[in-house]
Amino acid sequence: MAQEEIRSLARPLTRRTKSGMLYARPPEVEAQLQSLLRATVDEQLVWAKLQDQESPQFVKDECLVYLIHEAGLADDDARFSALTRQLLGRCTPTITRSLRNLGVAAPDVEDALSDVVSEMISAILSDDGKGDFYQVRFGKALRSRILKVHARYFRRQKRARREVAFGGNPKGEAENEEAVPLEERVAAPGDIAGDFENRLLIRGALAAIKDSRHREAFVLQNYDGWQVESIDPLEPTISGHFGKTPRTIRTWISTAERDVAEWRVAQLRDEELPT
C-alpha cells in the first residue's frame, strides 16, 4: 500500500504555455520518475551517479532535476549537493564549450558559468514552476539559460567597449571581398541531418573559425539559410542581426571559409601522415 501511495507522489508541473496548456513531462521521464520514487533515497543517489547512458538505471537529466527540486523542498543539503554534483558533472562541459563558441572571452567563462548555474538552480528550486521546463526538456532549457546569460554578457561588453565591435580581421573591414574558395566545404545540413559523425566533423570545422562572429555568420548562412541582406524588411538577415553592412558580413563569411579551408588542409595532412 505504501508503494502505491508513493507512485502518486510525483508532483505535477504547474507552468503553463501561452495557450494555457500545462507543461507535461515526456512519458519516458514520467515512467522513470515512478521507478525512482519507489526506491529509497539511498538507491536514488546510487543510480544518479551512474555514468553509462546505456544502463537502464541511468537517471535522465529531467529526473535528476526533479530529485534536486525535492531535495530543496526537504531542505536536505547533503542530498541536494550529491545530486547537483551529478548534474553539473554532466552539463558543465556543455556550458563552458557553448559559452566559448558564443564568443565569451576565456577569462570570463568561469563567471558566466557561475551565472548559468546560479540561475538554473534558482529556477529548479523555485516552487512557482519556473524550473518546470528543465523537467520537460533539460537540454533545451539549459541552452535557453546559456543564451540568456550570454545576451547579458554581450550587452555588458558592448557598453564597456562603447564602439561598434570589430575585431579579428587584421586586414581591416571593407576591402577584402574576394571569397577564398574552400578546398572542401563541409556538407550542407540536408545531407547529414542526424548523422553523428558528420556533426562531429562540422563542429571541428566550426571550432577552427577564429572569430565567434564570423562563426555565427557562417552557421546562419550555411546551416539555417539566412540571407546576408534582403529587400523584404520582415526577412531576418545576417546583416540586420549583427547591425553590420552586407559587405562586412560577406567579408566575415569569407574569412570563416578560409579558416575552415585551412583546418581541412591540416586534417588531410594529418590523415596522410604515416602511422
Partner: protein, 260 residues
Amino acid sequence: MTVEREMPYENGEEMDAQLERILEEYAASEPGPSRATLPVWIREYPQFAQELTEFAARWQLMEWAGDDADNEPHGAKANVADEENERLILRGMSAAQSVFYARRAARAKQVSEAVAASVDRSPHAASEGMSAAIDSLIAAAGHVGLTYPALRDRVGLSDALLQKLNRRLIDPLTIPVRVIADLAGAVQQRVESVAAYFALAPTFAIGAQHRANQTPTLPKAQEDFFDAVRNDATLRVSRKDELLALPRPAGSVRSHEDSQ
C-alpha cells in the same frame, strides 16, 4: 481549452519576465528557433523582434557549433572529468550551494515571520478569524494519496508527535524548519501554509469522545517541540537524536529541559 493571452507590461522587470517566458516557449516549440520559424514569433511578439532574432541566431550557432545534449552518442560517459573540468564543476557547485543556502535562510526567515505574525494575533482572532490552506495535516496527506501511516513514516515522526503536531498542541515557535519543510513536502503544500496551520489554535482530535459530566479542555500551554521529542518513548533513539540535533528556530525560548 481557454487561451490565455498575457497583456504587455510597461514595467521593465515584468517585460523581462515576459520575454523569458516567450523565449522559453520558443525554445520548447518544434522544430525550434530558426530562420524558418522566426517570422511567426516576431509577428506574434513584434516588441521583442530583436531579442527573438538574436535568440534564434545563437540557438542555431549552438545547434551546430555547441553541444547538443540530445545528440550525444549512445553509451558515452556522461561525466568527462579531467582536472580543468573538475575545477569548473566545483566552481559551479559553489554557485549552486550559495543559491541553496540563501534560499534556506530566506525560507527560515519567512517561516519564522509567518509563525510569529500568526501567534501575535489576539487569541480571539487566532481561534476564529484565521484560516490556512490546510484544515488538517492528515486530511492534506489524504488528498495527495498518502495514508496516515505513510505520512508518519515519510516524515519520520512517531504517532504521538504527529498527532500533537496535527492538533497544534506543539508551540509553533519551537518547531524546526526542517520538520515543517518535510511535512510540507509530504502533503505537497507550501512551507508557509504548514507554518500558518501550526499557528492556529490547538484543537481536539477529530472524533474524540468525552465524558458528558465534564467539559473537555485542551492543555493550557502548548508543548515545546524538543521537549515532546525528548519525552517520546516510542521514537527510535537514532531518530530522536536526529530531531534533537535540528536547529531551534530563531526567536524560540529554550525550555527548562532543554537547558539541562
